[in-house]
């Protein structure tokens, strides 16, 4: 879907037929700080996964939980909640 959508392109009654299509929206550009995971310290407790408001932290194949930067808004809740301080926040560089 594009941003140039008009009312003529909508379903009658503004019905959205595709459940969860908000996952195509990029909210990662809100971010000013980026979470970095230190895998040596991580104990895989999954607290960051449960607490992430943007659901951007996903369980990976290797058992670690890393943030998907397409969605991460950089709130630093994961860095605060981490019991072993394995997540640190770094400034987002200019691109």
């Amino acid at each position: 879907m594009t941003d140039k959508l008009t009312w003529k392109d909508m379903e009658v009654g503004n019905i959205v037929k595709e459940a969860g299509n908000a996952c195509f929206r990029r909210t990662g550009d809100w971010r000013t700080e980026r979470p970095i995971l230190d895998k040596d310290k991580c104990i895989k407790c999954a607290l960051c996964w449960l607490y992430c408001p943007d659901a951007s932290i996903k369980p990976g194949e290797d058992g670690y939980y890393e943030a998907d930067l397409y969605y991460c808004k950089g709130c630093a809740i994961c860095a605060r909640i981490c019991p072993v301080e394995a997540i640190s926040m770094t400034e987002e560089e200019e691109r």
């Binding site: 459940a19 908000a22 195509f24 929206r25 408001p53 659901a55 996903k58 809740i77 909640i81």
Partner: protein, 315 residues
């Protein structure tokens, strides 16, 4: 192979996201945390009606939706009335054999404005009629979505845009409406307060509320960095402090029996909670002392009620 379940503590939680990523919640909001925990507990057999509010506006910017469960937007006034209709409709469809018999949890979700101000009448009606549903109030203590206007859930002393602090005013001059007690006064089977900062407690209560036959009410305090004027990273800590200072005690009321779930031996001083938030910045020592007095009073009252019903030992 994709991971479908995550071991969390002594339970398995689904790694499916029923609230999709890409929503518009503010940075560090407590509401999506609570919603995710609720949905991960209940799974996909749910139908949700949601009142207008932060949670509705931010998750459904047309033409997008964040919901992967059957979800309806309702007006402020009639969330509980709508979910009553859904529940009654499901019951009759199953009776007539149009849809297979199975357990579907009906959830109504609203903010504090949609619960304690505008939707109170519909909520009271639905609780009184005894529909089998779970009503979840996400309390962020003001109308945050439209720009931090006071609601009846705004606590004493907080500064909002319609109750601003200044030379002539100290912000909100009334006390927070005790909507939990109002819900409990209907004599419904299950009423509870929960906080996303205490995730096991929240998930247990939501599970219990869903398993309860009849109406259940769960009140969740969701810190709001925008309206409470605090950093987005300390949402969880503020939620913990709200419980540890006694501002928002965690308790449940089962068939009129009160039980305190978190009872710290000594409450932390209220300043620890207030000083983190910009909405309380203007308060003088007298005001803080007054708030401390109120909190102590309320907490003592609650303890008294809980003491009437001693906790039975687990077998």
């Amino acid at each position: 192979m994709a991971i479908t379940e995550v071991k969390f503590g002594d339970r398995l939680l689904t790694s499916k996201e029923f609230l999709a990523e890409g929503h518009n919640f503010c940075i560090g909001c407590g509401e999506p945390m609570a919603i995710r925990m609720v949905l991960k507990t209940l799974g996909e057999n749910v139908i949700m009606a949601m009142a207008t509010g932060c949670d509705e506006v931010t998750t459904t910017p047309l033409p997008y939706t964040s919901w992967r469960i059957p979800w309806m937007h309702t007006l402020f006034e009639n969330t509980a009335a709508e979910i009553s209709g859904v529940e009654a409709g499901l019951k009759i469809l199953m009776k007539k054999g149009r849809i297979p018999e199975r357990r579907i949890t009906c959830i109504a979700m609203a903010g504090d404005g949609g619960t304690s101000d505008i939707g109170l009448q519909a909520l009271s009606g639905a609780l009184e009629r005894g529909h089998d549903f779970v009503y979840i109030c996400l309390d962020n203590e003001a109308y945050m979505n439209t720009g931090i206007q006071r609601s009846s859930s705004t606590p004493y002393g907080a500064s909002t845009t319609t109750a601003p602090a200044g030379k002539m005013s100290m912000g909100q001059i009334t006390r927070k409406k005790n909507i939990v007690a109002i819900a409990a006064a209907h004599g419904i089977p299950y009423v509870a307060t929960a906080s996303p900062s205490y995730h096991f407690d929240l998930m247990r209560k939501v599970r219990k509320a869903a398993d309860t036959k009849g109406p259940a009410y769960v009140h969740i305090l969701t810190p709001c960095p925008t309206g409470w004027r605090c950093g987005g990273d300390i949402t969880v800590q503020i939620g913990q402090l709200a419980v540890q200072t006694g501002v928002f005690p965690l308790y449940e009321i089962e068939h009129g029996r009160y039980r305190l779930n978190a009872d710290p031996p000594r409450l932390k001083p209220i300043e620890e909670y207030l000083k983190l938030q910009g909405r309380y910045r203007h308060l003088t020592d007298d005001h803080v002392a007054r708030i401390q007095e109120m909190v102590n009073e309320d907490y003592a009252g609650l303890k008294e009620k809980a003491a009437c019903f001693p906790v039975e030992a687990k077998e």
